[in-house]
């Protein structure tokens, strides 16, 4: 796996891309792996030590996958957080928070897109999605251009196969 440890300027740019969600700082080291995946490493090793291990061994991951920095299908630059990235910095996610109702939450965990109510209508773009009881962030979604549909990015392994709980 190719890795690139982000310098201060690149890190600042990444954080700026999440500013609309409320993100202000990331204390961990950020590592780009592959084309678009961003990972955060909180350990004690220095950049040089990590690279020394990378030269020594096949590395399959450094730290936690926290988000993507990519060009979308329409050629637009986008930055979004992963579910676990959201959990890591949950205290900073104060803007564009969308709270689901119970039925929407069930659909969310099945990986389905969610129809939003009039009260939930939001400007298009990424939102931090919260559970109906407002206790948990349950993933990042994207509100469509009409402002009425929430598209899910919940990975398959974090979904339920059926609604049984």
């Amino acid at each position: 796996m190719k890795i690139h440890i982000m310098d201060r300027a690149k890190k600042k740019k990444f954080i700026a891309g999440l500013d609309n969600l409320g993100m202000k700082k990331i204390p961990e080291l950020l590592v780009r792996s592959g084309k678009e995946r961003i990972r955060a490493y909180s350990g004690d090793l220095s950049t040089e030590q990590i690279m020394e291990i990378w030269r020594l061994l096949p590395i399959e991951g450094v730290g936690l996958y926290v988000g993507k920095d990519m060009i979308n299908r329409n050629g637009i630059h986008e930055i979004r957080l992963s579910l676990d990235g959201m959990h890591t910095w949950k205290n900073q996610l104060t803007e564009r928070v969308l709270i689901l109702d119970e039925e929407q939450e069930l659909n969310w965990f099945l990986g389905k897109d969610v129809d939003l109510s009039v009260e939930q209508k939001m400007e298009n773009g990424f939102v931090s999605v919260k559970s109906a009881d407002e206790k948990d962030f349950v993933g990042m979604g994207k509100v469509g251009d009409d402002g009425k549909t929430l598209f899910s990015f919940l990975p398959k392994e974090r979904r339920r196969k059926e609604n049984t709980i």
């Binding site: 909180s42 096949p58 590395i59 709980i165």
Partner: protein, 334 residues
């Protein structure tokens, strides 16, 4: 109750133990105790989970799970994150809750939690988990280290790396570097090409799995003595190589989920003969037995008695073996 009895009878018929296996267990235990061992081996272990303290507090998780009607028990005062679910759950229920999907707990058998409870990794430690997949012990260590220090989590199989990475992600582990290398070769590279030495190492070696019959009864069919001897060679190589990259004064845990002395005490005995190490006594609030000092006519070092042997019938868990080894110097005896 009838369902459980039927299940046991079905397994006994489908997966009878081989005669040589019964004989060995009778030698290790006694005829009566071996019978108890085989009887419990055809039953399921209780469901147990470990609260992922990187994402939620023990109290909050407990409250939430009790709201599902689950009866929870925390068997260890020192490790409140460990919970046994006493109520009967529907199939798959443990993995379907929101809390599981979000990574707030890890479904893990109690015996598999022991190596890290003994190793006690702390923030600031440089830790190697040599055979890391599926990641139960790596994620447990990361939680104990509060995402500080660094863990090198190694796994040889590409398929199993996927499972390891998936569990590391779900648990929000940030202090880990995942590597893909044969364990022996990884240690050799660290030893010959770098100055890195580890504070703590876990060698949870691949094994014949005699301790995991309750969750994989097909092990009864696969069991044979030749396999044990073959695996023992690999285990010895792994443990020996890992000792080479442990700091002087550092701790290595050698563990397996098998009860065959060739894969357990005899590996530790080999290390005692070859290296300047000390086997340390293990203190855990569980009923466990000492390591065996004699097997098949071979006398082993008295020190292997300090190893931990966990039989399923003693605590209603899987079977396990744990040795805690302290490296005293870089000297070799032979």
């Amino acid at each position: 109750m009838k369902d459980r009895d039927d299940y046991s009878e079905y397994l006994k018929e489908k997966f009878p133990p081989k005669e040589a296996f019964v004989e060995r267990m009778e030698k290790l235990l006694s005829k009566e105790d071996a019978k108890v061992f085989f009887d419990i081996s055809y039953t399921k272990t209780p469901s147990s989970i470990r609260c992922n303290t990187l994402k939620i507090t023990v109290e909050e998780l407990k409250t939430r799970l009790e709201n599902y009607g689950w009866e929870l028990r925390q068997p260890f005062e020192k490790f409140p994150e460990v919970m046994i679910i006493d109520s009967r759950l529907n199939p798959g229920e443990l993995g379907k809750t929101r809390e599981h999907l979000l990574g707030y707990y890890y479904v893990q058998e109690i015996s598999s939690m022991l190596p890290m409870m003994v190793l006690e990794p702390e923030a600031g430690d440089f830790v190697l988990d040599l055979c890391a997949s599926p990641g139960s012990k790596t994620t447990q260590a990361a939680a104990m280290m509060e995402n500080g220090g660094t863990i090198i989590a190694n796994e040889i199989s590409m398929g199993r790396i996927g499972i390891l990475n998936s569990n590391i992600e779900r648990c929000g582990v940030m202090n880990t570097i995942v590597t893909r290398k044969e364990g022996f070769a990884l240690c050799e590279r660290f030893l010959k090409k770098t100055q890195f030495k580890f504070d703590k190492i876990l060698v949870d070696a691949p094994c014949s799995g005699e301790g995991t019959l309750r969750k994989s009864p097909s092990t009864f069919q696969m069991w044979n003595v030749n396999m044990i001897k073959k695996i023992a060679g690999t285990q010895r190589r792994l443990a020996e190589a890992a000792l080479g990259i442990l700091k002087v004064g550092g701790t290595m845990i050698y563990s397996t989920c098998t009860l065959a002395p060739e894969e357990d005490e005899m590996i530790v005995d080999y290390l005692i003969q070859k290296f300047d190490i000390e086997v340390e006594k293990i203190n855990l609030p569980l009923k466990f037995r000492c390591g065996v000092c004699e097997w098949e006519g071979k006398e082993l070092s008295k020190d292997v008695e300090k190893c931990l042997r966990l039989y399923p019938q003693d605590n209603n868990t899987d079977g396990f073996f744990v040795a805690k080894i302290k490296k005293l110097s870089e000297d070799k005896k032979i």
